[in-house]
């Protein structure tokens, strides 16, 4: 199996879907000749031309709104939001329009739309090039919210997203675009949207994460293995709809749960995981459910020590794992 980076996997998924289905097109800022500011669409303009790889005006609300319209027609738009931080102008289109269209038309109108956006910190991006915004969208029935943590899943999940008849918000861990490498199966495959993945089975405690934090959790779990602590790592992958069964199954086995995310702690994804466990796995718990997340400040501050303070990292995660294991 060839090894590639996460960004290459994203690009390959789009390339293959563009080739497979002529209803697929990509739009967003700088996606054309420039190949995207992160190079996700590199070479696609040359290959598919300006009718399939469409440079949009600098206007996120209508990047998504146009996507919704084209999806209503029956096309399969992939809308790129340059940074997740700039998705907020499009909130109305995503939450009021894309998410509600199928329900509000009693199944008459479908929005098979993918919205891709790089998210996350640790890249000296400051307040406005580092945000993790998944919790806003994971609150919205009608959307599917996906965050891959490795190249294999990135490719397979993005292909599933393009084929899904519903709107999918697809957040990509930008710090991992080139850092995270992995093997990707040759030939056609997809990874289904919905199921979480136990990426490292273990007995002593369960750690739930996604995206970049999942990558760090695997590293931290490796460290703890050397200390005789056997950590189970669950890659949530699809944040909404929630794979409750996978969360419950893991904790029923280990009795302990830690949720790691780089969004602000309060009202973040970990709150839902903790609530599910309190509600449905209470008698299996041997310890309080713990969350390791970013502090509750408005966003990632720029200066290097600030950023280090803000971001969870393998050391902080390993410390949280040790503490929970010792409980």
């Amino acid at each position: 199996m060839p090894e590639m980076t996460l960004i290459e996997a994203v690009r390959q998924a789009m390339d293959e879907e563009l080739a497979r289905d002529d209803r697929v097109f990509v739009t967003g800022e700088d996606v054309g000749r420039r190949g995207g500011v992160f190079r996700a669409t590199l070479g696609l303009f040359e290959k598919y031309g300006p009718g399939r790889i469409i440079d949009s005006p600098l206007a996120e609300l209508s990047i998504v709104g146009i996507g919704v319209g084209a999806a209503l027609y029956g096309l399969r738009p992939i809308c790129e939001i340059q940074f997740a931080d700039f998705i907020h102008p499009a909130f109305n289109q995503i939450v009021n329009e894309a998410a509600k269209m199928y329900y509000r038309s009693n199944g008459e109108w479908l929005v098979p739309l993918v919205i891709r956006a790089p998210y996350g910190g640790g890249i000296s991006g400051g307040l406005y090039h580092s945000q993790s915004v998944e919790a806003f969208f994971a609150h919205v029935p009608g959307l599917k919210v996906v965050i891959p943590s490795n190249p294999r899943d990135a490719k397979g999940l993005l292909k599933s997203a393009v084929r899904d008849p519903n709107p999918v918000v697809f957040f990509e861990p930008k710090k991992g675009y080139r850092l995270i490498k992995g093997e990707v199966p040759e030939g056609e495959y997809t990874v289904p949207i919905g199921p979480a993945n136990v990426s490292r089975p273990g007995r002593d405690l369960s750690v739930f994460a996604y995206g970049m934090m999942h990558y760090y959790c695997l590293k931290a779990a490796g460290t703890l293995a050397g200390e005789g602590i056997d950590v189970e790592v669950v890659d949530l992958r699809t944040l909404y709809p929630v794979d409750k069964a996978a969360i419950l199954e893991s904790v029923r086995k280990t009795g302990k749960a830690l949720v790691v995310y780089e969004d602000n702690l309060t009202m973040g994804y970990g709150a839902e995981v903790a609530a599910i466990l309190a509600d449905e796995a209470f008698t299996s718990l041997d310890a309080p459910v713990k969350r390791l997340a970013a502090p509750d400040v408005p966003a990632v501050p720029f200066s290097h020590p600030f950023q280090e303070w803000f971001m969870p990292n393998p050391d902080k995660i390993a410390a949280a794992m040790r503490e929970l294991a010792a409980y």
Partner: protein
Amino acid sequence: MAITSAPARSRLDQEPLAGLPPETLLELYWQMLRSRRLDERAWTLHRQGKIAFHISAMGHEAAQAGAACALRRGHDYVVPYYRDLTLVLSLGYTPRDFMLGLFGKQGEVTSGARQMPSHWSLRSANVVSTSSPVATQISHAAGLALACKLRGDDRVALACIGEGATSQGEWYEGLNWAAVHKLPFICLVQNNVYAISVPVDRQMAVPNVADRAAAFGMPGVVVDGNDVLAVYEAMKAAVDRARAGEGPTLVEAKTYRVVPHSSDDDDRSYRTRDEVELWKKRDPILRFRAKLEAAGLLTPDQQSEHEARAQAEVDEAVQFAQAAPYPDVALAAGGVYAPLPQEA
């Protein structure tokens, strides 16, 4: 101060009946009349406490019937707004459909009674589902038009909107896309002077919404929205242009809402009765009726027949909707996601 002067332009002097055959002219009249009678009944039902909400097309009938007539019905895409009762009726929506919506009853076609009344959707007629936040429909129509262009099909997409909602950024973004990509797109602004209570001079510093078209690089046309044939002609020109690949047009129909914004509004706080009365004299249906009568196309007998037929359709629709059951509550929980192809 609100603009209450007579609207700008009418081409009727040159072409009295817009070159339309008598059947089409009578059909236009019928659509306007039936819409008005349905609309009036909705207000009555609301006063009787039988329905929760109504938002009206009264005064807008000419703008909407004229627009519908310029389209290839069931072929072109239409993304309406809540005031478009006459438009959607002209495109195939029925009085029964409307009444089921008012009562929130089982079988309601747009949303299965999930949405408030007048949130249209009719897939079979290419009428797209609409929501409540104003102006979101503009980029949907532009996206549909983009898809038409990418696929090389000859459809056009029409988006309707009120003048107040053109203050939204969504409106600017959508029109900009349409202009940049020369899309087969028409935006019909129904300028009825008010956005709830706020007059148009508090929305924009230009006299016409259409004046802004220049900033996008598309033609902007102002038309007398109470003159159905003038609207038809302006819309026909815009549709022809779009279908010929020449790009989008902004059409502004100047009209007036002769009733409160909705059944929840009281318009006495923000406009005079004199102003409303003045506009009632410019009633688009009475004007068109006079024109048809003068041309010998509508006899008194035909007029009575139209009235009787409208009355009968309205009565039947009300009875039907009142007798219909409410939807099963279980239906509210489902239908959130479209099934994957292999599940379907």
